[in-house]
């Protein structure tokens, strides 16, 4: 019996990696491209100076570069390294996995054309992302951002400098791909560890207890939020999972969808790898508090 459960756990862990790894690779390659081709001064010129403008850039960035949560972390880290203000980069990192056309459409389909649920999900995530980004903006102002960031991947010294002046460098593409691979490996270790932990929870969690607790209106939001963290379901699929929880109130389903895209086991590891501890803790705690508070308030008007 235990052998079967361990095998199921292995299957679930592998399936999480199979689903998420392509997005992580995409994010890592985009990150390498940003590092190589995007000019920091140009970014600085184009980003609005005011906090509302910066927040709007972060919130709407997902409509331009739609990417799920695994891919948004390496990309946001690179944006920060390129001088994008944390208010924009962190807001983008947390909002893009939900505020993008693909996920909004999947939520609409999963909840049977219930546009209110789409609006509610986008609003809660936007509030959580913007608040976290705003709180992290201090980090930008108070410290030397580049020094406090963990070291980013670098091209080979003989490649990066020469390439910038001469696009004919024959190693240019290889270095770009190699840098993407290295970033993927760095972030991928947390994906693997998160997938393992999530699979273990999924197989060994006493689901009867979870179902019993979720049956209580007051506890259901917290229980579903905990599930979102433990299960590591991709933001593109989580609406369908949430919609299947037929015994819980809509506010709890909303909490599951809103939090899972911003905080889960694999993302936690990535946050601690990509950001200083204080920022990583904020990336975990602020969205949790914000999502819980908003969904609790919305529970009085949602039926």
């Amino acid at each position: 019996m235990l052998f079967q459960e361990i095998q199921l756990m292995a299957r679930i862990a592998v399936s999480i990696v199979l689903e998420a790894a392509p997005f992580l690779l995409l994010g890592s390659l985009l990150s390498a491209v940003v590092d190589r081709y995007v000019d920091a001064e140009r970014i600085a010129r184009r980003i609005p100076k005011g906090p509302l403008g910066r927040m709007a850039v972060g919130l709407l960035g997902g409509m331009v570069i739609p990417i799920c949560e695994c891919g948004s972390v390496p990309l946001a880290r690179r944006f920060l390294g390129k001088g994008v203000p944390p208010l924009s980069a962190i807001t983008y990192m947390l909002a893009a996995p939900v505020i993008n056309p693909v996920v909004m459409l999947s939520t609409y389909v999963a909840f049977i054309s219930n546009f209110k649920m789409v609006i509610a999900r986008v609003s809660v995530v936007a509030c959580g992302a913007a608040l976290t980004g705003w709180l992290c903006a201090d980090w930008h102002a108070d410290s030397n951002r580049l020094a406090s960031l963990p070291e980013l991947n670098h091209f080979h010294s003989h490649g990066a400098q020469n390439m910038s002046t001469d696009g004919r460098d024959r190693w240019m593409v290889l270095d770009l791909l190699s840098s993407g691979a290295s970033e993927f490996l760095d972030m991928g270790k947390y994906l693997v560890l998160g997938a393992l932990a999530s699979a273990a929870f999924k197989v060994f969690l006493p689901w009867q207890l979870v179902q019993a607790l979720a049956g209580s209106a007051t506890l259901s939001i917290a229980v579903l939020m905990l599930l979102a963290v433990l299960l590591c379901v991709c933001s593109e699929a989580d609406a369908f999972v949430a919609a299947s929880f037929v015994y819980v109130p809509p506010a709890a389903q909303l909490g599951f969808m809103a939090l899972g895209a911003m905080v889960d086991l694999k993302l936690m590891g990535m946050y601690f790898s990509a950001f200083p501890k204080r920022i990583a803790w904020m990336l975990i705690i602020v969205p949790m508090v914000c999502v819980f508070g908003l969904t609790f308030l919305l529970s009085f008007v949602m039926n």
Binding site: Q4, I6, Q7, L8, A10, R11, I12, A13, V14, S15, I16, L18, E19, A21, P22, L25, L29, V109, A110, I112, H154, H156, G159, V173, L174, D175, L177, S178, S179, G180, A181, S182, F184, L185, D186, G188, K189, V192, L193, L196, S198, A199, K202, L205, W207, Q208, Q211, A212, G215, L231, C232, C234, E236, A237, F240, V241, A243, S244, V246, Y247
Partner: protein, 263 residues
């Protein structure tokens, strides 16, 4: 040591790409992912192969034993997972994907009566999304029997199928409560074919003590209706135990594949 680790890193990324490419071309894929994503996985696999090869030729200078170890663990897990829920390694044989079939008959005839094919997850989603089922509509559905204390007290059992949206991690065993008055009792874990009609319950009857099945650790049954069985027949566990259902739009009939996931 550093060169060994870097070479191993490159080989692991390349190996991940080759594994994904192989898996995307085999039957075993459906034990991990919704078959709709085959082209996506295959394309990503090619990307991993290219990136892994590039890393082998021009490795980034840094090493990290933990990251190497994590990907070694992933390789071991992939080997341990094998061909997933398929019964044997034949699932890794490269052949036409099982979901590619001709349009099948949507009905099964039993004693001259037509029964509409619908897997338990499709019935669940049909009812959950508010689609009414005509009282004279007969259904035939296949699934795994799940019993619990609550269900036993009600004299019912649950009929479930693991439903995958994207991958196994989001799979939930979904289905219906079944009333089988006068029919022989069934054991937890039996695979059966149920012929019957849907009956709406006067008030919801949530079942909160369901565990999981062999394929999916979490289950959910529709609580506002039940399937009243006219006949139940035992069956062998199907080769492909999972189904891949999304909520129905109601505008078009469900797509049938002729495979194990139809009903």
């Amino acid at each position: 040591m550093k060169r060994v680790l870097l070479a191993l890193d490159g080989m692991l990324v390349l190996g991940l790409g080759l594994y994904m490419l192989l898996l995307s071309q085999t039957e075993a894929y459906v034990a991990f992912m919704n078959p709709k994503f085959r082209p996506f996985t295959a394309a990503a696999a090619v990307g991993f192969c290219i990136v892994g090869a590039a890393f082998l030729v021009r490795p980034d200078g840094r090493t990290d034993a933990l990251r190497t170890l994590c990907f070694v663990i992933l390789a071991v897990l992939a080997l341990h997972a094998g061909s997933g829920s398929l019964k044997n390694a034949g699932g890794f044989a490269v052949k036409a994907p099982p979901e590619v079939r001709i349009d099948p008959d949507p009905h099964v005839l039993r004693d001259g009566d037509p029964y509409l094919k619908s897997n338990p997850a499709r019935l669940f989603l049909l009812l959950q999304t508010g689609h009414s089922t005509p009282s004279d509509q007969r259904y035939v559905t296949r699934g795994i029997v799940k019993r619990s204390v609550q269900l036993d007290q009600l004299g019912k059992f649950a009929l479930l199928r693991g439903n995958m949206v994207c991958c196994l991690a989001d799979a939930i065993a979904m289905g219906m409560m079944v009333a089988a008055d006068g029919l022989p009792p069934l054991r937890d874990g039996d695979w059966v074919v149920v012929f019957g009609r849907v009956q709406t319950l006067p008030e919801p009857s949530p079942i909160t003590d369901l565990g999981g099945t062999r394929e999916v650790p979490f289950s959910m049954v529709y609580d506002k209706a039940l399937l009243v069985a006219e006949a139940i027949e035992p069956m062998e566990r199907p080769r492909f135990p999972y189904v891949f259902e999304l909520p129905p739009s109601g505008k078009s009939p469900p797509r049938l594949t002729g495979g194990d996931d139809d009903y």
